[in-house]
């Protein structure tokens, strides 16, 4: 049975696209057939992070408007063959998407894939509401800082009122993914702690991804972090989150685990 998952946050720059790519790749590495759908029409990024920017011919807007067939627009990843991308259009804006068109495309994707991962644009306007509209579950990405947490809270309210599931009176499954976390700074009170964020948002925790240079390095090379360096702490956190999404019982590794040497010398952990 296919699942539609929206990755959303309200605020921009918190790591939605990075997380969509990493979770999608991790699900595909676990043997699931996955399509990543970029809803950020006009500011597409997911193609770059997947290293597929030179293979885009047709996009989501073309398919929504009926100018191209779905298989023409889907791009299959060269590294994990069960991973696919439906890119956004860079030259259009969010108004090019229609509710009926998106519904039809999601319906077609449901017939082909186990997981449909919708990478939401920032904001609470049309693009974001269309991305969440048909979701069965949501991953809410937040950074440990007050503005991000409040925006995420707003998005959770919208997930509970504006989605198809919410309108039908069904429960909307929501998970928190805390990114750019720095355990050292949180311990020193310079950053919100995991517990603080959980207390405010009151949704279950899917994972904590530490602030790490690996993430940026991988993005710049066009790799989801789980493919580039599977041993990196950030990659492990995403893989663990993907296993949780698949229903496995997993115990979280402590975020920002520090090695003996860095403890001795009191330096920040390398990742």
């Amino acid at each position: 049975m296919s699942k539609v998952m929206v990755v959303t946050s309200g605020k921009g720059g918190v790591g939605k696209t990075t997380s969509s790519a990493a979770l999608g790749a991790a699900l595909a590495q676990a043997g699931q057939s996955v399509v990543l759908v970029d809803f950020d029409v006009g500011l597409r990024n997911l193609d770059l992070i997947l290293g597929a920017e030179r293979r885009v011919v047709f996009d989501l807007v073309n398919v929504v408007q009926g100018d191209a067939k779905l298989p023409q627009a889907l791009i299959r990843d060269k590294r994990v063959e069960t991973l696919h991308l439906l890119p956004a259009s860079q030259t259009r804006d969010k108004d090019a998407l229609t509710a009926e068109g998106v519904e039809r495309v999601i319906g077609e994707l449901r017939e082909r894939f186990d997981w449909i991962v919708c990478d939401s644009p920032a904001g609470i306007e049309k693009g974001a509401t269309l991305a969440m509209r048909h979701a069965d579950l949501a991953v809410v990405v937040a950074n440990p800082e007050v503005s991000s947490v409040r925006d995420s809270d707003r998005i959770i309210g919208m997930l509970d009122s504006k989605t198809r599931r919410a309108e039908a009176g069904e429960k909307m499954e929501k998970h928190l993914l805390l990114t750019r976390y720095d355990a050292g700074r949180a311990a020193r009170g310079e950053m919100m702690k995991v517990e603080d964020v959980l207390e405010i948002l009151a949704i279950p925790l899917l994972g904590v991804v530490s602030e790490s240079p690996d993430v940026l390095t991988a993005s710049n090379l066009g790799f989801p972090v789980t493919l580039h360096n599977p041993a990196a702490p950030a990659a492990r956190a995403y893989s663990l989150a993907a296993r949780k999404l698949l229903g496995e019982e997993v115990r979280a590794e402590p975020a920002g685990k520090r090695g003996l040497m860095s403890r001795l010398f009191g330096r920040r952990a390398a990742a």
């Binding site: 609470i124 007050v146 409040r150 925006d151 809270d153 707003r154 959770i156 309210g157 919208m158 509970d160 009122s161 919410a166 405010i200 009151a202």
Partner: protein, 235 residues
Amino acid sequence: MPLPAHKRFSATTPPPVVHVRGRSFMALALAPEPPLAAWFVELDEHLAGTAGLFANRPMVVDLSLAAEEGRDAVLILLDGLESRGFRIIGLEGAPPELLEHTHWERLPTQLYGREAPTPVNAPLPRTGSQLIDGPVRSGQSVVFEAGDVVIVGAVASGAEVIAGGSVHIYGALRGRAIAGIRAGAEARIFCSRMEAEMVGVDRLYRTAENWGASLQGRAVQVRSDRGALRLSALD
């Protein structure tokens, strides 16, 4: 050198100062649909169930649907609304020539308003209180004029709760709570953890910087006491 004409008075007596203040208020918006006779039957049934709630409320009438019925029908419609106690303050959606040479002509037809915030999905209660079983999220607005609001969960920063009576929050209050829209000074706000941005009872309000840090994070009640807002710890 003689002063310019418009300054001469000010040399001796200061001119009176004209204060212009902005004000915003909530207007009800009605969009009557043809057939109008059936629409009035619906309206009267609705009014019978909410006695007095709409009396003397400012009202904006959207005529875009009713205008098709012609000028006479629109005039009967507007008179019918007025006779039910509505105060019509503006019209929308009607071509300007429709109401020419009638006493409705003077009403403004260019209104710049926005729709009121969408309320949280919660069943309307039968009793005089509304129960919200879960958190109120940032950006959401709970408005219940007919009585108390009870919330089992937190009220987030950027969320608001407005009650005709008292507000009871079994959780942290991090947003705004306003009590006593109807009940007045009798109403109170209770919360099990005070981290609010603003609280208000019966037209009195205070923002967070105006109460002591000693109350932060504690169970608190807020009430109106002889014309002043009083916050006190409950624990």
